[in-house]
Amino acid sequence: MFEDDFYRSSSQYRHWSFTETSLQKLRATTNAHASERVREALRRAREARQSASSSAAGTPTPTQAGSDADSKAGGADEKDIECLTPEEELQLVKYYCEQVILVGESYKPALPTIVRATAIQYLRRFYLTNSPMTYHPKNIMPCAVFLATKTDNCYISLRHFAEGVPGDTTAEDIIAPEFVLMQSLRFNFDVRHPFRGLEGGIMELQSIAQGTGQPAPHFPQQTSDTLRRGLLAVPPTPGAPSSSTITDRLGRAHTTTRDLLKTAAQMTDAYFLYTPSQIWLAAFYLADRALAEFYLDTKLGPPTAAADNNNNPLSELRSKIYRTLTNCASLLQSYKSLAEDPSQKATARRISKKLYHCQNPEKANNITSAGQKRIPAAAAAAAAAAAASGDGGTSESDMERMAKKRKLEREQREKEGRDLFGGELVAQRTKD
């Protein structure tokens, strides 16, 4: 099928599609690596503290109580640090994915669904290969949203964006982990969403309802008339009001499906396990089962007897697709939103408390410096912007750095002046 090959060429298929087992394995590996590193880092920190305290031991201890507290803290360190399990990590990431939606709503106008969905997928992809113990989701989440506004062509200026983020997050804090994030995404910014596919499907169904439907390429015997009659013959859903027209029914199914895609599809592993087309059809299947079956039958032919299933590739494909859609639908159904399940919030709070103890201390403040190391120009620009927008006084280290830079430049000019043909023309002009 041409459409399938089209999807196979996407980076989402090539790099971000997993089987359930490989997804679990990947998360477990990530967690194991991160826990190991956290333990090592904490041990190093403890050793450093101990050597510092032993050097300080020369002076008389101020109070008995203080040393007691010290030894108690040391005892706490002695016992093994409890790290997050992969499931807890997943829970935490899920909680922050829910936060993305809230952040998106805090803007006026609210961020488009597709931006939020992209941000959530960025976050989920990021935490496949990174652990919340290494990079706290509270730092990564705003950055993912900001990156999504840029990649989805919905740019907001950084300052405006920073105002919408809850807490006292500054603009620099938001973009600090940007490079780390992009690197972990393997610079695959393209996320294939099921939303546009849903629009297409509903659009086609509506044209069928109006009697202008086109036959599917594999079933040229269909006419717009037979299609329309078929659609009208679809058995109504049990709970629906019987007097509603087919257009109303389509509209209702559309809204339900869209809500499912906005929440359940984002908060589960659906994007990793299924293709966007399967996701929207599964959601549609949940929303209006009879309608979804009718639509698939127009594309893949009516159900056939099991006997000739083997020789017809289309009916084989059909049975396979139905199997996949059922799996996907049950995955989507398993999702429970925060409002439905208040215990999730409590769990998230518990996990983040636990995370406070097992956060990698060496990475906690490291993100910014990493960014600077990678993109010195951007970091310098950011620093300059901060200096301009700040209280006007540059810090002492900045002054020192500037002085050093000026000195270096002066030396460079002198060296060039001694050159046989003089220095660069532009440099000379600046000297004049």
Partner: protein
Amino acid sequence: MAPPRASMAHRGDEDEVCPVCKSSRYLNPDMEFLINPECYHKMCESCVDRIFSSGPANCPVAGCHKTLRKNRFRKQTFEDINVEREVDIRRRVMQILNRREEEFDSKRAYDDFLEQREEIIANLVYGTDVAKTEANLQQYASSNVRSIRANQALEEKEATYFQEQQTQEQELARMRRQAAKMEYENERREVLAGREDVLTRLASGRPADAAAIARQGQKVLLKKSSARRSEEERIRQKQAALRNSDAKKSGQPAARAAGQDDGGFIKGLKRIKTPEPEKPYDPFGGLVPGKRDYFTQSESYPSSYLEPIRQNAQIQAGGFDLREYYSRTLLEAFAGLGCFIDEEVSERDSAAPLSVGQPVSTTGQS
């Protein structure tokens, strides 16, 4: 048709006698003997003129009833009439079975062909299976006319080329000889002239300069001869280079155009492949533009919020085409419907096990 051995023994003798008219060389010293490859019976020139001038006739030798023609009579090349005959047969067979080594799959196949040819020649010479061999040969000749002719042409070409090469080389050698001779002459003349010059200068100059003039004269002479020598060396090198490049250019045999069916008479011939006719160029590489497997796009779709866009000239003026939107949404509706990730990805992972389970950035000290 065994030739009469007795007459052969006396060829060139003074008292050689023509077996037909019995006139002897003694009486007619200019007598020439001729043979006909039909039966190899020898007779004198005057007999041939006498008997065959008025058209084909039977051989006058008693017991031989072959019909001979005058134009086929020729002088004997070899003294032994058997050798003469074998050479004739060989020439004829070689003209028909003129396959070349490059036409065979392997060296072995070519060698087998050579052996087969020798066998045929031997059969014809010693009279074993003559009828069958002849028939085979004729059949081969008639079914391979084209390749035989092509090979003949090739052979001729090679022969003429070889001839040309020979004459060219001879010519070059002659020119070299002439040049050497001229050079020698020139040198001698110059030596003489130099000597004379020195003498005249000695005669006209003062006695004190005598030694200096003599030394100078010697030097000039040496310089001239060495300059000439280096010049000649240069020309010679140039000519040699020219010769080499000529040889390279014409050394290639012409491309082959052969390949009729020879009915399996000769084994191991190379199959001549006719190149497949080139297909017309397909810029999409087999992809049919606009072809979809799950849907057929129609001109417009009913939609309450797309309809205003379709009608709005302001939006349309910029080149926005709603059909682009239709095709994109419909394509994305079905893109990947038939991609079963659990199957395909596990296949892919088993093919390249490194792609999963390698958290990239957690290991990086970024």
